[in-house]
Symmetry: D2
């Protein structure tokens, strides 16, 4: 029997808190799960620094990847008897679902920004490079790794396959909304996925949703909206993110200026030099990063030491709303005051905007990569969701950004009460608010 058709002697199941069980019958899927590149995802948290806000948010990207696979598996069971569905591509969909996040590194958002990395490139590199994952995929067929990479990259010719993995209502999002809600414990993030799966239909080059399921889709969009504002953009999470980013900046700057680290930062050197090899990249996970941060909390450089200590022991920055109408001279004054009290404003006075964050909300058309949601109407025509649903229309038009100013309030408050700087800093910060 061809490797691609091999079935496990007995179906394997993983107990999953969100989907109850993840079912595996295909030998290929089983083998992929066992690769070291996939297992590495256990050491990367799905929600980055959110665990510092929501103590339950300690789940890994492996956890999520199995979930996305399971959703796609269920969709394909539903599609099995549809004439316009290409059965040949079943395994391709499953592999792409399982592997779509393979290239994520530790705390991706900050690392990518600081070191100019792109996890999608690494996903591709892992799939196509000299890896265990590649070996498994090649056993299916010589061009199979490329196909999987194309699907994840959204360049695969059959856009229907792509849309299962990347669209406004794909398996990726349906999994993470539910999973992140489950592990954080928030009451948002619930929608009737079973219903949505039942009203999904392959239609030409996309997956569409029967109009009778519109309310379930509305509920999904609302969940998304609430999750973004309640979880993903949570200001405490962003505080941890700010500190993390500043640690990386500082370590890089020190390296560049020839600072002598107490412990050679072996794992970081190729990052600092912006020429990361695949091998180096795979070595990097959150255990390694946390190990370094603990070491750095004992470094001599006071900024690196302080920031690393803050991250490891959760001494986060506080924030005020940032007033974009603040006068430039007040902003300059604030800078100078920070310098006066011994805080480098480059590291200790940080404006962060939620719109920088890597989560997009539903905006049909605006974002080229994600396909909008189409309803399949009783008259057999398609209709873009926000044209049919008042609620979705209402929220999809709005852009909401949110600027916050992060700073170490603990340091300011420890200044003597009669300190002129203290009074003025607090006044300016409140003015900002």
């Amino acid at each position: 029997m061809a490797y691609k058709d091999e079935q496990l002697h007995e179906e394997k199941v993983f107990k999953d808190p969100v989907h109850r069980y993840v079912h595996v019958r295909d030998r290929v899927i089983w083998d992929l799960i066992g690769t070291r590149e996939f297992q590495r995802l256990r050491r990367i948290k799905q929600l980055g620094t959110s665990f510092l806000t929501f103590h339950g948010a300690e789940h890994s990207r492996l956890n999520h990847s199995l979930g996305v696979y399971e959703i796609v598996r269920r969709i394909l069971v539903n599609f099995a008897d549809r004439p316009n569905w290409n059965h040949e591509e079943r395994l391709l969909c499953l592999c792409a679902a399982l592997l779509h996040d393979l290239g994520h590194g530790p705390f991706s958002h900050s690392f990518e920004k600081v070191f100019k990395l792109d996890h999608e490139e690494f996903t591709k590199a892992i799939i196509l490079g000299d890896t265990e994952v590649n070996k498994v995929l090649k056993k299916v067929s010589k061009d199979f790794p490329q196909k999987v990479a194309d699907v994840i990259n959204k360049t695969y010719e059959d856009k229907l396959v792509v849309s299962l993995i990347s669209s406004q209502i794909d398996a990726d999002r349906m999994d993470y909304l539910q999973r992140d809600a489950y592990f954080t414990g928030v009451s948002y993030g619930h929608f009737d996925m079973e219903r949505i799966l039942r009203v999904m239909r392959p239609y030409e080059d996309q997956v569409v949703v029967k109009e009778s399921g519109m309310h379930a889709v509305e509920d999904y969009i609302m969940s998304r909206y609430q999750m973004y504002w309640q979880v993903y953009f949570h200001p405490v999470t962003r505080s941890a993110e700010v500190i993390l980013t500043k640690i990386l900046h500082r370590a890089k700057a020190l390296y560049e200026e020839g600072y002598s680290f107490q412990m050679e930062p072996t794992h970081f050197i190729s990052l600092f030099e912006e020429k990361v090899s695949l091998k180096d990249y795979i070595q990097l996970d959150e255990a390694v990063v946390l190990y370094y941060f603990q070491m750095w909390a004992d470094e001599k450089d006071p900024i690196l030491k302080d920031l690393a200590y803050r991250f490891v022991n959760r001494r986060l920055f506080k924030y005020v709303e940032f007033n974009p109408n603040l006068q430039m001279k007040e902003w300059m004054e604030l800078h100078q005051l920070f310098i006066d009290i011994g805080l480098d404003p480059d590291y200790y006075l940080v404006v962060d905007s939620s719109s920088d964050l890597p989560y997009d909300f539903y905006r049909p058309g605006e974002e080229e990569e994600r396909l909008p949601i189409h309803l399949f109407m009783p008259n057999k025509e398609l209709r873009e969701l926000s044209r049919q649903s008042e609620i979705v229309e209402a929220i999809s038009g709005k852009k909401r950004t949110d600027h916050k100013l992060y700073y170490p309030r603990d340091v300011i408050l420890q200044l003597p009460d009669d300190s002129q700087e203290k009074k003025r800093i607090l006044a300016l910060l409140h003015h900002s608010e």
Copy 2:
């Protein structure tokens, strides 16, 4: 106002998936949560190696500690208007609940066994030593740290206080059963805690349960039984545990014989030498351990290298039921065969018994430390649970041990099909089963 009576300006809440919210009003509790020793518990998983079996079981001991605190807080709200309850000790109970697991190290069970550590000693040391936790507690009163340590150590004079934290139906167990069930996703582990909390009564030196709540308690005991066999003693978890233990043994043996590690195992040296300082111990968390294991997967020593690689990449040992009636000469033969094919049986042929595991089941009397559960009968007398409940009686008498033989099946199966050793090993293993 005395520090012990200080209330937060506004109650703080943590979103908790199990108890919905964890509520904090006391300044002391808030300050303890912020200490670095408490924050360190984020980097220690509640269920050790179970995440390799249940991918959801990635939750930390901090997560659990907040839960225990919350349960005790709710019990005390219920006790507030009971005359036989000593209100002075409220804060003591809360602190002991929050801090009871403070001394846990990474993968406690294996580390304690190999390096002869005792997490309870470290809990005490952290509470009484030169730590941030100690500083906070001392602000309450000079002898307060000692009191907290005594409660956790079960030597505190008021046994009623002790029994909230350590008895057969204490806040610790009620939290971990529910929490571990939630994060693994198993359907066991549910019981009606709200009901149990409502029927709990302080009674002389213990907490007892009104007889009308017996069925809820039975349900709790059954949950426990199922959790032990379905989750805590899961054979795959034990396989990971076996490998972990053998890595530690190997590294220690290499150190003792003067092996030169590629990277100096700084964090482990005091462990290897069995003279761990508090400072060293606190440094040690699972990020650090995983970092070392990744390094060791590149060591020269083939056994350390192989075992570390197996742990990091989840290439676990398989198992057969171990037949305790196996003849000694067969066992010797199996040993020799392993040596013949190049596997050191000390590391690759391991018998593991579930009764070794650090979980006890309900056995009134047998275990000195944990108080049995007493029902408060309508006639105002006490009655030990298993004398009243047939189900509990039925299961509490039984001792169930389970011996398994762990070995690297992958290696055996890769031997050539005509290998005599392969055939004989498989025959002996199956004979064992």
Copy 3:
């Protein structure tokens, strides 16, 4: 001890699927629950005819009334330590919560429309009349029944008390949304009530919500939106409602024209004559109504017989979207065709509009009786919810009505295939759609 202060020897609990437990300590509440007028609510379904659409929706108004009481009880626990809360009125709030639906009759919506009844009047009459409920309330104080009636009637002077029971985010709505979602099994209707209860504050003459809880309130508003369209306005439920209304119309018309019923419709006579006494009204419950409908399914009058049979055995009318632009002459033609095939269009061709239904959606200002939701902003000012929340603003402006045309499709389809009437009726109906 005064009756109003009497506490039960031991707190009583009711197991409740939605709030887990309903707790009763006050003797007054316990006694009210035991009255026959309150127990009668067991025989009135909370959701009228919805059980014919959602088979789980079989829960009674007693079920809901206990839930509303429990929510108010919890709010009052939260209010207990607020200076601006009048503790004297605690019992008043609890009684009003428990009794607010006391005057509901069977299938209230239809009965009220056909027989020109008003359940609020009956609630008042039961509270003030010669009833067991009145006897209990009078034991509190002579004017207590009147106070309770005033709260329910929204005329009580302390509007803060009123707003707990009747506002856009009152205990009534919070209970029914969750309860109806639970019993129907739909995935909408969930919101974080625990959070909302924690951010509620008494403020002058209303209950307001701290701005930090806005997202939880948004979620509640969205739940409401979804519940209205998915459950309360469900077209199948409305079909049953249409038939029920027509049964009542027919029976009344027959009575008025002196028709001789096979069984004297004793319970209905005062309804038919529009002079219902309190005693008659209390006798009337859904068991009685269903008994009559079963009898009427054997009446001689073919319309009453058919409609009653349809209701009892769930042979509902089908529907098409009603085209409000249908030409009057086509509508007249349809009428005539129905007459031609022997169906009286007054009973068999019914336009129903969802906007007739007794559920209002969030429209601040538009509706005099229900207070809008005010947020308590960090700057201590109040702000009406839809001015702060984009989502709420987006949906609260919209009015959405929905007209459907109900008719007995089974009868039409049984006409011979070559029937001209059949073809033309179906054509006109589809034209309507």
Copy 4:
């Protein structure tokens, strides 16, 4: 296409709180659901008088019947690719599952006892008689109604089919445990049905369970145990049952002695005369019974009037534990005292034993009708569950009966405090306890 193979144009779903959705594709099933005999089950509560204890327990037998159908449907999907499964019998299983409770009357347990009825006989009669159900079934094939009746009657030749509907772990029980838990709101009654369905296997003439699923089955057995003692045998429910039974006894006795009812008890006459026709039986539902009870609460006969009033308005009897060692002369004295104070002991002093109740617990062998649970062991042998599971063994051996003495405490307590009878009655009752 043959009627039996007809599929609905589009799958229909019912929203179900327990199984999320009930799916119907077969025209036969759809038509059966629409029959008046099936719709009648809406007017019969699944749990009889339990709604007077658990206000959520208002769900109907129709509700449960759809659930049993859905479970069998899912089992059959799992069986679809098993060689030892006879596909021809799929529709037979589904119909038997849907219709297995068709013959239940109102408050079955009491009615059957008093009037010597047998709901299983009526199920058969409805399936085979001149009914809408029979018409639908006959369209499948002439002998199909008989086959369905045989399966429900457990006399069908293929015992494998029978065991899906009636065994110790059949669809009936799996549904009612979960459903009754859901609607009452108790925390028992949960088990991992999804897991059990996956480990079920057809094996010769029964359905067996793979040994690897034993713990899930243990959990199911424990749920059952808890549900019986916490819900089904609840003493308050039994109190309502006692009163109901006594009402029926009284009405029958009055009829037999020629008492002249104010309203002719038309629906009851054939019951009183113990010659119930199918037509009469089908007329009888709980709406009709409640209607009569309301009428009887205004009868002249003081006993019928009082008991009916008690049932309708929930003035239940209280209970004490009945001491089976009570001396006969004390029992006689108690009887006489009741007579002395004007209470007929036949109606007002009632011993009720839980073992009378129609629920059996797991007792392999003891009960002829229900097949025991067999595990399919890794060695391919079968093993009866209680031989493998210590927990099940522990509880299945035990017989637990519980005798309670029910009486109207309200009447006793209203006697003057100096009444000799009052003192003596209370003393004897307490002696009994």
